[in-house]
């Protein structure tokens, strides 16, 4: 190797260098990235096109267009029927355990949110009123609008589950708030 004509004679603390030409594939790779970058910068075939905000607005519009029609309006009768269906109430309990216990406590006795086991209701105690409160939330008090997070059947189910807790008056629950709905 010592007689390689490309070896530079000079030594730095014993280290030598070859004067090898640049590897062709490396040069090509470099040029390719440069060409790509120029094309991208001027939107020639690749690029950010109309820009991220326009892309976002298009994405939102497309999603809106593709969204299934709004779910059928849940009627008071339907909710009343569901309230007697133990399977649905049980499904509602699962939704409640995942999403609601952090504020209303596992037994519904209330923690940050109000007690759900008494007979007093702040935003109305009928099934339809509860359904509305859950769907739209009470932003000012920290109740999130679950309509955007849960599917319609989950909202229905959790509504009837919450209604099923009414008047169970668990021990250690928060003091009643709101209007009494017997």
């Amino acid at each position: 190797m010592a007689d390689n004509p490309r070896l530079i004679e000079h030594q730095y603390d014993g280290i030598q260098e070859y004067d090898n030409p640049l590897p062709r594939w490396w040069v090509l790779l470099f040029w390719a990235t440069i060409v790509f970058s120029i094309m991208y910068a001027f939107n020639l075939g690749v690029g950010s096109g109309p820009g991220r905000i326009a892309q976002y607005e298009a994405e939102v519009a497309a999603a809106k267009a593709a969204a299934p029609p709004p779910a059928e309006f849940t009627s008071p009768e339907e909710l009343a029927a569901m309230a007697t269906n133990t399977q649905i109430v049980e499904a509602g309990k699962a939704v409640y355990t995942t999403n609601c216990v952090s504020c209303h406590k596992a037994d519904g006795g209330g923690l940050i949110g109000p007690n759900l086991t008494d007979n007093a209701w702040i935003h109305g105690g009928t099934l339809m009123e509860m359904h509305k409160t859950i769907t739209e939330g009470v932003i000012a008090k920290g109740m999130p609008p679950w309509g955007t997070l849960l599917k319609p059947d989950q909202i229905d189910a959790v509504t009837v589950y919450v209604a099923s807790m009414k008047n169970t008056n668990v021990p250690g629950g928060k003091a009643a708030e709101g209007t009494v709905v017997p």
């Binding site: 190797m1 004509p5 490309r6 070896l7 530079i8 004679e9 000079h10 730095y12 603390d13 014993g14 280290i15 030598q16 260098e17 070859y18 004067d19 090898n20 030409p21 640049l22 590897p23 490396w26 790779l29 470099f30 990235t33 440069i34 790509f36 970058s37 991208y40 910068a41 950010s48 820009g51 991220r52 905000i53 892309q55 976002y56 994405e59 939102v60 999603a63 593709a66 969204a67 299934p68 995942t98 999403n99 952090s102 504020c103 923690l111 940050i112 932003i139 000012a140 008090k141 920290g142 999130p144 955007t148 997070l149 849960l150 599917k151 928060k174």
Partner: protein, 739 residues
């Protein structure tokens, strides 16, 4: 060849190896400490009970880990290698033994100061630039000492030309100084508190100009320099290509500096900056690989040696890791890829696959090579070095495979929509809980790497114990450089081309630069500064980058105090405050963030990782009481949460009189504070009373009006609210058009 020239007076001198030994020891010490902290925070993510409030929570320890491994471990490793190799490559003892020692002890003092202040919560909230202003000044002073010592050595060298390793050292020293100074400019508001000179978009830009180039000029270029010295030494063969060295050196120096904005894709940073950052990152692929090629091809004809030489094994993995990371980096900088990877563990995996191999393994190789030479004895055990190699390699594999999986899993879960057009995983914690098994795997991988580190430390300490009774000091003789010098062809049979263009292509001009290191240093500085200004000037001067939003007002005094608690606890390490204009983000968090929203944010707190959810629009989403309970014990509210508990918020008192100092500093930065100029403490007390009254009224504890919890709640309840006060203004504002 120099013999043919008029030789200078023959001089006799010796190298300062004592300073190299000093740096070598602390490299090992801080490496073990930094990696241990890494393992601790890895456990904290899988098992939050390991957070010990207030000093040992993830938010405070994570910067300690990054600072320790970058500036203490890698930093001291760089100095070890630079002090050893530069003296030999320049045929000169370091310029001043006193400066060498001032550099050594100064740097260790900085590290100790960092190790004390970070757990205490003193932080500037800028990644890898967390240290507060007095320490920043120390860093600047020590760095200048190092630079003077190094440049002094360049001047008194006895080697006509400077070798490629020296070029990389020069680039690192010059650029780190520039980056450090300009990113850390701040107005002090107390001995250990300061506010960044820049706000919002500009602060974010400066931070990632710095942050990305800390990777470039602290973890890449100095290590390339080390590679160019220690690789041919260990492989006992010539470097593959001198002209590849020239080309990849200058392209790296000029192009790296542009790449920072790729850390801010889809944020409120103007899109033109983001595009520039992406394209320069893409173009960096080949220049980076130039270093890999030169490293790996130096082994040509010597691959058989790798089988039984642990040093070469470490080097091969180091350089391969460098190659993989410098391919992955450009890929991650592509906007569409980044929209998936950003804020996830993918970034963490990327960093570690680079750092554990390139920085870690190259350091191990270097120290294994140096130890017998510095201690003038044989390495204690080659077998242990082999064990170290295999344990650490398995550790790396476990670490990166699990964390890549975690990153991609979480990124995909965040963006998943179900058939009804709703987010598939609307509850953020679901996307965290899924990662816990991967986090445990990471703990195992990281622990193996740490075990390897301890085996390494043991091996080196045992080698040191068997050192020579007194170190033999080798004297070296070399002629001093003379003023007269006639350039000669570099190798036989190569003539200097006749035309200027021919000389340019043959890069003969570069040989002349190598003879004038001061000119070389100036050229590097010019390249770095010019490249920086191309992005900095438009970022600061173009008005349309940050359209004003009239409803955005400064934080109230109490909110500002709360913001400083958010900074103290390092909340920004896990929570972003930057909603990207991507549908899956706006569905989850609300309207995307506008540049005008953070104009009073000194420093910006956009964050870079979402271990918890984004908080840009947190204001008003939860009740005050929810926050209080959540701080006291997040798992009571959300059993699967991995957030540390902050019970001290409810017991620590707010320093009300101290708030005035904060407001005064903000006024100096031009934040329009009006009424709060002299009455900040009273205004804060009033707001705290209101929040405390609400807490008590909703069933929470009473007597919170003097406690920190009211300040942090005030801040969180403010986040993202201003824009809601003026609907319509926000949605039509274009976030940074083309200039």
């Amino acid at each position: 060849m120099a013999d043919a020239q008029a030789a200078g007076r023959l001089e006799t001198f010796s190298y300062d190896d004592d300073i190299v030994r000093k740096f070598l020891f602390v490299t090992i010490l801080w490496g073990a400490v930094g990696m241990l902290v890494g393992v601790i925070i890895a456990v904290q993510m899988a098992y939050p009970a390991w957070n010990v409030a207030p000093w040992l929570t993830f938010g405070r320890l994570r910067p300690l880990h990054t600072n320790a491994v970058i500036f203490a471990f890698a930093g001291n490793a760089i100095f070890t290698g630079i002090y050893y190799s530069s003296q030999r490559l320049l045929k000169a003892r370091m310029f001043s033994d006193a400066l060498s020692r001032a550099h050594f002890w100064g740097w260790q003092l900085i590290i100790v100061a960092a190790a004390l202040t970070l757990p205490l919560g003193f932080t500037q909230a800028k990644e890898y630039a967390e240290l507060e202003w007095p320490i920043d000044i120390m860093i600047a002073v020590v760095w200048v000492i190092f630079a003077v010592n190094f440049i002094g050595t360049l001047i008194k060298r006895r080697e006509r030309h400077i070798y490629v390793a020296i070029w990389f050292y020069i680039a690192s020293i010059v650029t780190v100084a520039i980056l450090h100074i300009f990113n850390n400019l701040a107005v002090p508001a107390g001995l250990f508190k300061s506010y960044s000179l820049y706000a919002g978009v500009q602060d974010a830009f400066m931070q990632w100009w710095y942050g990305h180039n800390a990777v470039a000029f602290f973890l890449t270029t100095p290590f390339l320099g080390l590679m160019y010295y220690f690789m041919p030494k260990a492989a006992e063969g010539p470097v593959f290509s001198y002209r590849l060295s020239i080309l990849h050196f200058w392209t790296i120096v000029f192009m790296y500096i542009w790449a920072g904005p790729h850390h801010l894709h889809y944020t409120a940073l103007p899109e033109w900056a983001s595009t520039l950052g992406m394209l320069f990152s893409v173009m960096l692929w080949a220049p980076s690989w130039g270093g890999m090629i030169n490293g790996l091809l130096t082994l040509r004809g010597g691959w058989h040696k790798v089988v039984d030489d642990p040093i070469l094994k470490f080097m091969v993995i180091a350089i391969t890791g460098y190659g993989m990371s410098t391919f992955e980096g450009p890929m991650l900088s592509v906007k569409s890829v980044n929209s998936l990877s950003h804020y996830t563990d993918w970034t963490i995996a990327h960093v570690h696959s680079g750092a554990l191999t390139w920085n870690g393994f190259l350091t191990f190789a270097m120290v294994y090579w140096l130890a017998p030479r510095l201690f003038q004895t044989e390495l204690y055990s080659k077998k242990l070095a082999e064990w170290h190699f295999w344990i650490a390699t398995v550790g790396i594999l476990l670490y990166i495979v699990s964390i890549y999986s975690a990153g991609v899993t979480q990124g995909l879960m965040w963006r998943a929509f179900d058939e009804t057009g709703r987010l598939q995983y609307p509850d953020f914690v679901e996307t965290v809980a899924r990662l816990i098994p991967m986090y445990w795997t990471r703990v195992v991988g990281g622990t193996l790497y740490l075990v390897g580190m301890l085996v390494f430390a043991y091996n080196i300490v045992m080698t040191w114990k068997r050192r020579a009774a007194t170190y033999a000091i080798t004297t070296v003789q070399a002629p001093a450089l003379t003023k007269e010098y006639t350039p000669e062809p570099m190798r036989p049979g190569v003539d200097v081309p006749a035309t200027a263009f021919g000389r340019f292509v043959a890069m003969t001009f570069h040989r002349a630069w190598e003879r004038t290191p001061i000119v070389f240093t100036v050229l590097v500085a010019v390249a770095v500064i010019v490249a920086s200004l191309f992005e900095i000037i438009p970022t600061f001067l173009i008005k349309s980058n940050v359209p004003t939003i009239a409803s955005v007002k400064p934080y109230t005094p109490l909110e500002l105090a709360g913001r400083d608690l958010y900074i103290r606890e390092g909340c920004f390490n896990c929570h972003s405050q930057m909603i990207r204009p991507l549908r899956f983000e706006t569905e989850r968090y609300g309207e995307y963030s506008k540049p005008g929203e953070s104009v009073y944010d000194h420093p910006f707190l956009w964050g870079s990782r979402r271990i918890g959810p984004d908080l840009a629009r947190e204001g008003g989403l939860k009740s005050n009481l929810w926050h209080l309970r959540h701080f006291e014990n997040p798992r009571e509210i959300n059993p699967r949460s991995i957030m540390p508990a902050y019970p001290h918020f409810s017991t620590n008192d707010i320093d009300f009189p101290g708030i005035q100092k904060k407001i005064d500093a903000m006024l100096m930065l031009g934040v329009p504070y009006g009424d709060a100029i002299n009455t900040a403490p009273d205004m804060a007390r009033q707001q705290a009373r209101e929040i405390a009254a609400d807490l008590a009224a909703t069933g929470g504890p009473s007597g919170m009006e003097t406690k920190e919890v009211t300040a942090i709640i005030a801040y969180l309840q403010r986040l993202g609210k201003d824009i809601k006060a003026a609907p319509g203004v926000a949605t039509t504002t274009k976030a940074g058009g083309q200039p």
